[in-house]
Symmetry: D3
Subunit: 271 residues, 6 copies
Amino acid sequence: MILALSTWPEIEAWLSRCKTVLIPIGSNEQHGPTGLLGTDWLCPEIIAHEAHRRGGDILVAPTFNIGMAQHHLGFPGTISLRPSTFQAAICDWVESLSRHGFERIYFLNGHGGNIASIEAAFSEAYAKYSFAAKSCPFMLKLRSWWKLPGIGSSCDELFPSGHGSHATPSEIAITQSAYPDSIKKAICTPQIAATGPIRDALDYRARFPDGRSPNSQRSRLPVRNPRLIAHSRIDRDAPLSIIGGARAEYHRSSTTNTIAACRPLIRNRSC
Amino acid sequence: MILALSTWPEIEAWLSRCKTVLIPIGSNEQHGPTGLLGTDWLCPEIIAHEAHRRGGDILVAPTFNIGMAQHHLGFPGTISLRPSTFQAAICDWVESLSRHGFERIYFLNGHGGNIASIEAAFSEAYAKYSFAAKSCPFMLKLRSWWKLPGIGSSCDELFPSGHGSHATPSEIAITQSAYPDSIKKAICTPQIAATGPIRDALDYRARFPDGRSPNSQRSRLPVRNPRLIAHSRIDRDAPLSIIGGARAEYHRSSTTNTIAACRPLIRNRSC
Amino acid sequence: MILALSTWPEIEAWLSRCKTVLIPIGSNEQHGPTGLLGTDWLCPEIIAHEAHRRGGDILVAPTFNIGMAQHHLGFPGTISLRPSTFQAAICDWVESLSRHGFERIYFLNGHGGNIASIEAAFSEAYAKYSFAAKSCPFMLKLRSWWKLPGIGSSCDELFPSGHGSHATPSEIAITQSAYPDSIKKAICTPQIAATGPIRDALDYRARFPDGRSPNSQRSRLPVRNPRLIAHSRIDRDAPLSIIGGARAEYHRSSTTNTIAACRPLIRNRSC
Amino acid sequence: MILALSTWPEIEAWLSRCKTVLIPIGSNEQHGPTGLLGTDWLCPEIIAHEAHRRGGDILVAPTFNIGMAQHHLGFPGTISLRPSTFQAAICDWVESLSRHGFERIYFLNGHGGNIASIEAAFSEAYAKYSFAAKSCPFMLKLRSWWKLPGIGSSCDELFPSGHGSHATPSEIAITQSAYPDSIKKAICTPQIAATGPIRDALDYRARFPDGRSPNSQRSRLPVRNPRLIAHSRIDRDAPLSIIGGARAEYHRSSTTNTIAACRPLIRNRSC
Amino acid sequence: MILALSTWPEIEAWLSRCKTVLIPIGSNEQHGPTGLLGTDWLCPEIIAHEAHRRGGDILVAPTFNIGMAQHHLGFPGTISLRPSTFQAAICDWVESLSRHGFERIYFLNGHGGNIASIEAAFSEAYAKYSFAAKSCPFMLKLRSWWKLPGIGSSCDELFPSGHGSHATPSEIAITQSAYPDSIKKAICTPQIAATGPIRDALDYRARFPDGRSPNSQRSRLPVRNPRLIAHSRIDRDAPLSIIGGARAEYHRSSTTNTIAACRPLIRNRSC
Amino acid sequence: MILALSTWPEIEAWLSRCKTVLIPIGSNEQHGPTGLLGTDWLCPEIIAHEAHRRGGDILVAPTFNIGMAQHHLGFPGTISLRPSTFQAAICDWVESLSRHGFERIYFLNGHGGNIASIEAAFSEAYAKYSFAAKSCPFMLKLRSWWKLPGIGSSCDELFPSGHGSHATPSEIAITQSAYPDSIKKAICTPQIAATGPIRDALDYRARFPDGRSPNSQRSRLPVRNPRLIAHSRIDRDAPLSIIGGARAEYHRSSTTNTIAACRPLIRNRSC
C-alpha cells in the first residue's frame, strides 16, 4: 500500500490490522559521472514500491529524499540538510506517524552517510521519553538496502571487484533497471576510484575529482568488470531480487502482528 | 530536466547557461474521503514533470514532500514538520543550491498551509545576508500552482460551486489524471464541507469530521457539480492545461537569462 | 484596561469575566524620509490604547515592538529579529498568557512583513498540541489594523493615489496624530516610490534608495495628494475613526463571552 | 533623541557624531498588590525618556519590555520569555544596531531577574567573534537603574526599612510619579514580605502569596515607613533625581566620543 | 561518595537516604603564565573530592569541566562552550539527575565567568515547569568555592594585595597543592595585572597580554607578596581549609534531609 | 602532555611542533551490578593518561565525560546529554581547538552508544565549511579504544565467552586496574546477560533488569570465565597493553608532523 496514494480512511483501516510503516530514506547527491543524483533515494523507493507491486503487504510512506550529503556539496546538484536539521525532521516524521498509532517505523535507507545521523535521530526521539520516564510508544528500525538478506552475496557475485561504497555498480544498476531512459555513459578514469576518509566538501572534491569514492578494495581484488562502473546496466530483474529481502525484513520488524497473506496484486509503477 | 535523474556534470552544464531551478513543494496530509494523502505534493510534482515532458526547458529538483500540516494530524496518514523544522530544511535546500551557483530558486507550492512558513523561511534565508551586510546571491520565488496564469478561471469554469480551499475538486482531478489507478469513491456528507478557522488538530477534526474544509463559498453559490467532490475524475488532459502557466511563470522568474528554444522532447513519466 | 498599568489582582478579576487579550505587534524599521522608525508598532499601540481610552472594554497587553524587518537593515535605526527568534518569542508570549487562562489572544498587527512569520508562529504554538493529541486551550487571531472594518475605504478616500504598502500616508498620519511634535518634513523624490519584490537588505536599499516601497499603484492612478506623502498630517481625529473597528473586531474574536457594556471611561494617554 | 520617533536619516546623522545607543530593558511581571505589572520595563523607560526630556544628549531605543519572569508565571498578567528566547532576541537587537555602526550599546535594566540572562546573551554575542578570531565591533554595557550613581543612598534615605528587592517602594514610586492615574491601593499583610530563594512559579506563589518578595531586611531594621509599601507615592520629582546618574553613566560608556553640550530641549512625554 | 566510582545499586541506596548531589563545575581556560589551564574545574573537583576523602557524607558527580570561556579563546588551550550550548548541557544534567529522584542539585563552581550562564540555565530548567504550571521536583543551588564560609578572610590574609579575580594566587595555590608536579614558574610583568571589562577574545588578549586579569586592587593596596603571583605555592594544607566550608554548605542546601554521621573514611585520590 | 595541567605558553609551544590533540570521550552510565558508572569515560582517560605517562609524545585534552546514554536513564547515576546537545558541545570543543591551530583532533571513545552522535557531530562541524565553500582547517578522527590495534585479539583471549558489548569484562578490568579501591562484587544472574535492541529507558530496564546488556555471543560460545563478569579484576598490567595501540593510532592520525622521540617521562597519576 502506497501511503501517498491512499486516503486517510484507508490508512485508518490499515492501522486496525498492522502498526508498521516503511519509510524509504536517502540522499540527493552526486554519484560520479554516470550515477544519478537521486540514486540514494531512488534505490530504497524503487525497492519498496516494487515489493508492494509484487504483492507485499506493506505500507510505504513518502520518500525522505534529502539527507546528509555535506561532503558532496562541491558537486552541482547535491542537496544536503545539516545533520541537526535532518535529525529534527526525522523526529517530526516519527512523531507524526506515532501520533496515528504506528508502533513500528522502519527506515529503508539508501545512503551510508545517513546512518550515523539517523541513529542519532532515533536516540533523540527515544530521549524524549527516557528523560520523562515515560514508555515510548514506538520502535524504530534502520536498515540499509544493501544489508538486506542476500544482497551482499549478490553484489559479490555481480561485481567481484571495485564495488566500493559510493556510486557503486549495484546501486547504479538498480536505478538503471527502473529508469532505463536515464542511463548515462562516460569514461571513468581511473576505472576504480581512490579511497580515503570523508571530511568537508572542498577536501572531498580535491581527493575525488569525479565524485566516485571511497573504494577500499582497489588493491586487493583484480578488476574484472570495469565496464560496470562506467555504464553498469545489468539485467532488468537482477537487482530486484532484493525485493524479497526487503519485504521479509519489514515483516520481521513487526513481531506482534499477524500478517495477511500477500495477494499477488501487481500495480503499475507508482510515484 | 529532472535533477534527480541527471548526473552532476549534466547539472554543471545546465548552470553554464541557466541559474534557475524549480522545487515542487507540498504536504502529505489527509484530503477527505476521496483525496489522496499525497495530493498537495503530487500536484506540483505532476505539473512540473509534465511541463518538462512537454518540452519545457526547466530544471526540476526533487519534491519537498512533507510540509506544514499540524492541523491535519488528527487524521491517519498525515505527516507534518513543525514550522521551525520546515523552515530550517528550506534554508538548507536553498543554501545547497546557492552553493552551486543557482541564483533563482522557484518553489512551486501545492499547499496553502505552507505559504506563511515558506515566506518566513525566505526571510530567514535572506536575514543571514542582511545582518551580515552582504549581498545575497539568490532570489527566492514562491508560487502556488493555483495562482498560475489561467488556473483561477479554469477552476471557476469547471467547479463553479463548492471548490473550497482544501481537498478541492481541482487538485483531486489533477491527481486522478496522473494516477488513474488510485481514484477513490466515497459518499460525502454534506456535499460541501463546512468552513471555519484553522487551529490545532483536535479542534480541526471536531469541526471537520471527514477532513474536507474550509469552504467559504457554501452560502453564495448554488451546488451544481456535487459529484465532482466525491469522485471528480475529469478529462485526463484538462488539469494539465495549467502546465503552460507553470513553465511561463518559471521563466518569468528568470529575467536575465536567455532561454534556449524548448525542444519537444517528451519523456516517459519520471519519478 | 492597560495590562502594564494594572496589578495582578486586577488581571485576575478581568479573567473572571473575560478570556480575551489584545497584543499590539509591529516592527521598528525605516519608513522613508518622513515616517517614524516606530511607525509599525506605534500604530497598533495608538489604536489599541485609544480604543481603551474611548471606553472600549478591552485588555491591552504591552506592545511587541520588534518584528521581522531584515530587509530594512540597510537603513539606520531599523531593529529586526530573525524570523526564528520572532516566532519563538511569540510562542513564549502565547504560552505565558495561556498559562493564566486567556483563551483568545488577538494580535493587532502594524507590519505587513510580520504576517507570514506570525502565522508560522501560530502554527508552531498549535503544533505542540497537535503532535501531543491534546486539546489546545487557546485561539489565536491575527488582524492587521488596515484590515479592520472601514479602513480600506477610508484610505481610498483620503489617499486615492500612491498609498502603497510601506511608509504609507495613512500610517504616517496615525503617528502624526498621536505624536504631533514629531512630524517630519522632507522632499521626496520621486513622489511615489518604486515597486518590486522584497529580498535582503542590500538589494532593498539599492532599489529603494530612500526607503519608501513598494508602491504598486504608481502607473494606474493619478497623483492627487502628493503632499500627504511628504508630510501627511491630517486631521487629528481622522485616523482614529478606525478605533471602532478595532474594538468591534476584538469582541468578535470573543464569541463565547458576554461583554459588559463599555463605560465611557476616558483616561489620559498611557504608555 | 527617541529612536522610534525619529527617521532613518536622523539616526544616520546621529551616528556621524555618536556611536552610543541606550536600550531600556525590563520585564512585565506581577509586582504585588499595588505594583504595576509593567513596573520593571516602565522604570528604565521613564528614566531614559526623562533624561532625554531634560536635555540629555542620548539616543533611546524602543523598550525591550518582556524579560525573564518565569518564576512569576503563577500570577496573572506576567509575560515571560524563556531564557533561551530572551538571549536570542538580545543578540538580534545587538546585531541590528551593530549593523548600523553603533559601537556602544548600553542596556538600562529594570529587573534583577534579567541580569544573568542578559550577561549570558552578551557572552553569546561576543562568542560569535571570539570563535571566529575576529575583532568584535561593539561593546555591551549592562546597568540596572538602581545601581546608577546616587540611587542607593536615595533609597536608603527614603525607605530605610523594608525596601527589599522585588516590588520595592522605590520602583513603585517611580511608576507612580510617571503614571499618577494608575496608583493602586491595597492592604499588604504582612507589611514586609518574606524572603527566600527563587525557583519555579508554583514554588514562588506558595511562598510569596501576594507576590511581594524577597525582602532580606525584615529582621534587621525597624519598620518606619510601611505606607510606602502599600501606596508609596512620593514627591513627583524625587525619583527623577536619578536621571542625572543615568545620563552620566550613559556617557561614561562612551569613552572615545565628544559629547555635544546638552541643549535644554524638554519635550512632551513620548512613548 | 564518588558517583563515577560507584555502581547504580550504590546510587539507588544513596537515594534512599539522601536526595542531594554535588556537581563540580568550572572551565578550561588560560590562567596566565603560571596557572594551569584546568584551574577552574580542578579547584572545585579538588575541594569536593577532598571533602569526600575527609569523611564528608557527600555524593560527588563527575566534573563539568568545560564552561563559558569565549573571552579566553585568544590563548591556546582554552576550550569554551557557547553560552547556549552550556545552558542546554546543564539542563540535560539536571534532568538526568532529577529523573533518578535527586531533589537538591548543588553546583560547586570554579569560574566567575560561568555564573551568569549557570543562573540562566537554572531559569531555563525551572521555566519548563513554570510554563506548564507543574511543580518542579528539584532545587538548584550555585556556589562558587571562593564564596564558601571562611574563604574570603583566608584569601585576604594570605594575599593581602593583588589577589584579583582571574588566575588568582588562591586558585593557583589550590592546584599546586593537589598537583605538586605541575607547578610552573615564570616572570610576570607587571607583577599585578591590569583591570578592565571583559568582551571578546581579541579584545581581551590585546588588553591582557599574558592572560592575567582583571585586578581591581592594583591602585589601592601595596604589593606585599608578588612572588605569590608568579609561583604561589603555599602550604599543602592551607587551601584545603575550605573543605569544611564546602561540606557544610552542601548540607545546608539539604534542609529536609537527615544526614548520617560522617564516617572518617579517607580514600586515596580519586579521579 | 596533559592539557589541563599545562599553561597556555606550554600549549603554544606544543603547537609550534605538533597540531594534534587527543580528547578522551565517553559516557557516565550504569554498567551493571559491578561496573562503575564512570566506566565509559574512565577507560579512554586511563588509556590516554597512561600512554602519556609511559612517554607518549601526545597532548591529552580534558575528558568529555557525559555522552549519549538516554537508554540507561532508568538506572540511578546515569547522566545523559540529548544527542542534539551532545553534538553542539562537540562542535564547540572542535571550534575552540581549531581556533588555536589544532588541525587533527582525535577522539578516543569509550562508549559504543556515542559513535553515531559523534559522527553526526563531525558532519555538522564539516558542514559549516561545506555550505560556505570554504576549506575546513581541521580533520576529525574517532576511534573507540576497543578498536585499537591488538585489543580485539586480547579480549578474545582473555574473555572467550560472554564479552558482550556493554559492561564488558574488559572495560571493567581496565577500571579495576586503575581504581583498585573501587572494585565491586555482586552475584550476577544470569551470568551472561540477555541481548536485544536498544530503545528508550523504560524498555531497556524492563528487558535488562540489572543493566548488563546486550550480549550477542550467548548462544554461540561456551561460558568459560563467568567470574570475570562478576568481579573481573585481572592483572594490573594486562589492559594497559592497549596503550601502545592508542599512542600509535594517535600518531597515525598525524600524517604531516614530525614526532619528537618519546622520552620515558613517567609521571604520577594525573587527573
